[in-house]
Structures are given as structure tokens and as C-alpha cells.
């Protein structure tokens, strides 16, 4: 795994009007897969939205060392898809950030779009409006958009929720491809099983406290808890 730091949190305090968690200081390296765990309403989404630049931190700061355009991929809880546009249009929003200005940009953009669509197994739906797709298919579209974008840091808010195992495997396969190319992934996850199989690092928010641990440390903690 490369040791390049792509995100640094320096005493970051998150929240809208009052602090949700005590100050967080840590680094995220490329290729890491971080699962954020914790009960509902504890501040997981606020943390991800803060890193995405959508919420101002109450205190402290964070430094994102990614490209300004297209360096950050974000899948919000409600996926952020353009419902009245086609699947191909939605995925091309990611591809356009991955292709620079050139004579062949439109061709390249199209190739990257359809490549991502094929990898997520939704080629038959490419020209259908997103609103006609099922929840699982829409999640695959959102993942294809990020895959076509190839960001350095991917933020995902419960994007595996409500998916059956087949869809989880398809989506995680695509995310693995990104990680192999050095993308760091920070994802909010409600199902601990997914975190167990997939993540390399766990962030857990509990009682306004933030815990940062490797997957091994977290597994040990879990097994200790079960023994007790």
C-alpha cells in the first residue's frame, strides 16, 4: 500500500451548531478502506459531509491533497443521481472529470462511461432514465459514476444499504478496482459484516468519542466484547 497522505484532519470538530464529536486528528493514506461505524444520528454523515466540503467545521481544519476537479468522489445517502436523466448521462458526469480537454475528449468520455456501466452490469439500462430503476440498480449507477471518475478519495454514505448480496458483491468489486489504483475509500456502514470483510481501518463514533483503529484491533475488540 502506498503511504501517500491524501487527507489530514487537524483537531477537526464537526457539527452544525454544537460539537458532535471531540476533536479528531488523523491522516488517511491512499489505498485505505475506512468504514465508519456508529449508531444513527451520532455524526457519521456530518463527518463525511465536512470532508466533502459541504459543511464547515466548527473548529480545527482538514487538508485534502487531491485534485480540485474530480479528485473527490461522493455518493450521498440519497445517491445524488439526476433522476430524469439517463444512466449513461449520470455516469458521464464522473467520466467528464476524468478526461481532460483534447480532440478525442468526447470519444474518451464515452468509452470511460460505457466501461464503468459494463463493469457494474447495467449496460441494458444505459439509455433508461434513472427514475425507472430499482433502488439496487440506482446504487450501481452511483458507483459507476464514481468508477468512471476515478477519484483519489471516495466518500460514500451508506451506499451498500438495502442491497442484496449479489449487488453488494458487484458494487464492492468496482470499489476494489478503484482501491487497487490507489483510491482511498471512506464509507459509512451500518452492516458490520460488510466492514468486517472489506475495510482495512475502522472509525467508530460512540458517546461523542471518536475511535480510530485498524481492522485487526477492531476484530479483537469485537471478540473480547463477545467473550464478556
Amino acid at each position: 500500500m502506498s503511504e501517500e497522505v491524501i487527507l489530514s484532519l487537524n483537531g477537526l470538530v464537526i457539527g452544525y451548531d454544537h460539537p458532535l464529536v471531540k476533536p479528531i486528528t488523523l491522516d488517511v493514506h491512499s489505498g485505505e478502506i475506512i468504514a465508519i461505524l456508529g449508531p444513527s444520528g451520532i455524526g457519521k454523515t456530518t463527518l463525511v459531509r465536512t470532508i466533502a466540503g459541504l459543511v464547515r467545521p466548527l473548529e480545527g481544519s482538514f487538508e485534502l491533497r487531491v485534485k480540485r476537479r474530480g479528485g473527490l468522489g461522493y455518493i450521498p445517502q440519497r445517491l445524488g443521481l439526476v433522476r430524469h436523466a439517463t444512466v449513461a448521462h449520470n455516469v458521464s458526469l464522473g467520466a467528464r472529470l476524468n478526461v481532460g480537454w483534447s480532440k478525442t475528449m468526447f470519444k474518451e468520455r464515452k468509452e470511460k462511461t460505457y466501461d464503468a456501466i459494463r463493469k457494474l452490469g447495467i449496460e441494458e439500462k444505459a439509455s433508461e432514465p434513472v427514475r425507472r430503476l430499482s433502488g439496487g440498480q440506482q446504487r450501481r449507477v452511483a458507483t459507476a459514476r464514481t468508477l468512471a471518475q476515478r477519484p483519489q478519495l471516495m466518500l460514500a454514505d451508506e451506499f451498500l444499504g438495502e442491497l442484496d448480496q449479489t449487488n453488494v458483491n458487484i458494487v464492492l468489486g468496482a470499489v476494489h478496482e478503484l482501491v487497487e489504483n490507489g483510491t482511498a475509500v471512506i464509507m459509512i456502514e451500518h452492516h458490520e459484516d460488510n466492514a468486517f470483510d472489506f475495510a482495512t481501518r475502522i472509525w467508530e463514533i460512540r458517546n461523542e468519542r471518536f475511535f480510530d483503529m485498524s481492522i485487526e484491533e477492531w476484530k479483537q475488540q469485537q471478540s473480547k466484547g463477545e467473550e464478556e
Partner: protein, 318 residues
């Protein structure tokens, strides 16, 4: 048996009904104040209208669909030289051009005026500008342009375009502000440029509303083409004004029927266009015609005459 009473369940309904009654009472007293209690003038109003309609307007004079005496008609079909056709076509052309130009102007300005797309220091001045443009009715714009560039359809086009920008601009920025936030947030976090967010997220996401507003504005401009024609800005309104001057109300009535038919046709066209982008279009309801065609096909097959009605719906519906 123990029963549970849920209190306050119907309270809201009665409260709303009470508010409605109060508003009606308020409207009545305001109206009474406006007419200064003199309701006597309404007496015989209906019979006056009936006499006016019977003597002056009925039957509509369809000579407006015959060729004008001057200039000489060079078309094979006389209808194409008629006041009704020429006037309506000019009104439609004025409405079409001004709706398209106004739409382009409105969408550029409304994207600057929407609070969820632009900071306050940009959106506020643009909103004030749109309010200023909108505060002048199309008739005043028409008078203004007739003074500046003279009589004719160009004054009509400019008047309608300005009014369309003001009116449509407001409708559009309100639609943009009401759209879900998550596609915008995803686009911003990904690093999409503002113009790219507008073209690739905001406009496609609101395409149904935008099309609906565009068609409404076209219909509005056709209807108002009659008004601005009165001040000399071209279209069917010019002829209505002329016939009114000469008290030819039967011809005015015929032209009004033509306008009504065109407005209904535009409404049907709007329905057809919007069915491509709205969610109702995804689950099309069968028309009676479709059901009858299917029923005839089924009857020709042995043993299927008693097919339940839901199976008579066309295959693409099921």
C-alpha cells in the same frame, strides 16, 4: 368492550373550514366596500348580457375565414388569405419567437437568481432585475416598443420577450430552489464547474417543470398576443381591435373562438411533450381507443371472448 377515543382528530378540518368561512366573509365585506353598497347596478345585468350576445355576437361571423378583399389573394385556397388565418399565424409567430428568446434569457438569469446555485450577492440583484422586468405588464412593454421602434410585429416580439424573461425567470428560479439537494451536493463535491452543474444536473432534473412552463408561456403569449395587438404590435389583436372599433362583435366572437381552439391545441401539445419526461409517462394509462382495438382483436380468438377487462389492456401497458 373498552374503546379508545382519539381526541382532536377532526379539529384541524373544522379549523380549516372556519378559516375558509372567515376569508369568504372578508372577501364579501371588501367587495361590498368596493361597490359602496350599491348592488342595484347588478339588476338586469344578466338580461343585458343576453341581449348583447343575441343581437351583436351571435351567430359568429365566419367571414373572417374567407379571403380579404384587399390585397388580392394569390393563394389557391382562400382560407390562407383570411383575417383569421393571417392574424392567428402572426400571433403564433410572435409568441413562438418571443417564447424561445425569453426562455433562453430567463434560464440564464434564473440560474443566477436561484439561492441554492449562487451566493446572495449575485442572486439578489438578479432577482430585483427580474422583478423590475416583470412588474411592467406585456401591454406596457408593447406601448413602449411601439413608441421606440414603431408599429408592427417586431414591437410585439420585443414586448413579449421582455415579459417572458421576467415571468418565466421567476417560475424557473423557484423550481430550481425546490429541487432535491443531493444531486447538487454530489456535483459540487466531485468538483463539477457551476456551468456543468447547471447544464448537466439542474436542467435535466427539472426538465418536466421547465417544459411545462415553456408550453404555458407559449400559450400565455398566444393569448396575450391579442392584447398587445390592440396597441399596434401586430397579430390577431390588431384585427380584434379594428372590428371592435366598427362594432362588428360577431367577427370579434369568431376570432375569439379561433383563439380558444388554438389554446386548447397548445394544451394538448404540451401534454404530449411532457409525457416524455414526467413519471406519469412511464406508466401510460390505456386510452378507450386502445382498449376497444384490443377487445376486437381478442374477440376474434376462440375462447377469449370472456377475458377479464384488465387483460384487454395493450401489451405495452402491462
Amino acid at each position: 368492550m373498552e374503546t379508545t377515543t382519539i381526541e382532536g382528530g377532526g379539529g384541524m378540518k373544522y379549523r380549516l373550514f372556519g378559516i375558509l368561512l372567515f376569508l369568504l366573509f372578508l372577501a364579501w365585506t371588501t367587495l361590498d366596500g368596493l361597490v359602496e353598497g350599491d348592488w342595484g347596478r347588478l339588476e338586469g345585468g344578466l338580461s343585458n348580457l343576453a341581449v348583447f350576445f343575441e343581437e351583436s355576437m351571435w351567430p359568429p361571423n365566419w367571414s373572417v375565414l374567407e379571403a380579404r378583399s384587399y390585397p388580392v389573394c394569390e393563394q389557391d385556397i382562400e382560407f390562407f388569405c383570411s383575417v383569421g388565418y393571417l392574424g392567428m399565424m402572426e400571433t403564433l409567430k410572435i409568441a413562438f419567437v418571443s417564447t424561445i428568446l425569453g426562455f433562453v434569457g430567463a434560464i440564464s438569469l434564473s440560474s443566477l437568481a436561484a439561492r441554492n446555485l449562487m451566493p446572495l450577492y449575485i442572486s439578489l440583484p438578479v432577482r430585483i432585475f427580474l422583478s423590475a422586468v416583470r412588474s411592467l405588464p406585456s401591454l406596457i412593454w408593447a406601448i413602449l416598443f411601439v413608441i421606440v421602434i414603431g408599429f408592427g410585429p417586431l414591437s410585439g416580439v420585443l414586448a413579449m420577450t421582455f415579459y417572458t424573461v421576467g415571468y418565466l425567470g421567476k417560475l424557473q428560479y423557484e423550481v430550481f430552489e425546490g429541487m432535491p439537494n443531493d444531486p447538487l451536493e454530489a456535483g459540487r463535491a466531485m468538483g463539477l464547474h457551476r456551468s456543468s452543474i447547471l447544464l448537466n444536473i439542474v436542467i435535466p432534473e427539472n426538465s418536466n417543470h421547465l417544459l411545462s412552463q415553456l408550453m404555458f408561456m407559449f400559450e400565455y403569449n398566444v393569448r396575450h398576443g391579442t392584447v398587445i395587438g390592440i396597441v399596434g404590435a401586430g397579430g390577431i389583436g390588431y384585427y380584434i381591435h379594428t372590428y371592435l372599433k366598427f362594432l362588428q362583435y360577431d367577427k370579434v366572437f369568431a376570432l375569439l373562438i379561433i383563439i380558444f381552439v388554438v389554446v386548447v391545441l397548445i394544451d394538448l401539445l404540451s401534454l404530449a411533450i411532457r409525457s416524455f419526461v414526467n413519471e406519469e409517462g412511464d406508466v401510460r394509462k390505456p386510452t378507450w381507443l386502445n382498449m376497444l382495438i384490443q377487445a376486437r382483436k381478442r374477440k376474434s380468438l376462440d375462447g377469449l371472448a370472456a377475458t377479464p377487462p384488465q387483460l384487454l389492456w395493450p401489451r405495452w401497458y402491462r
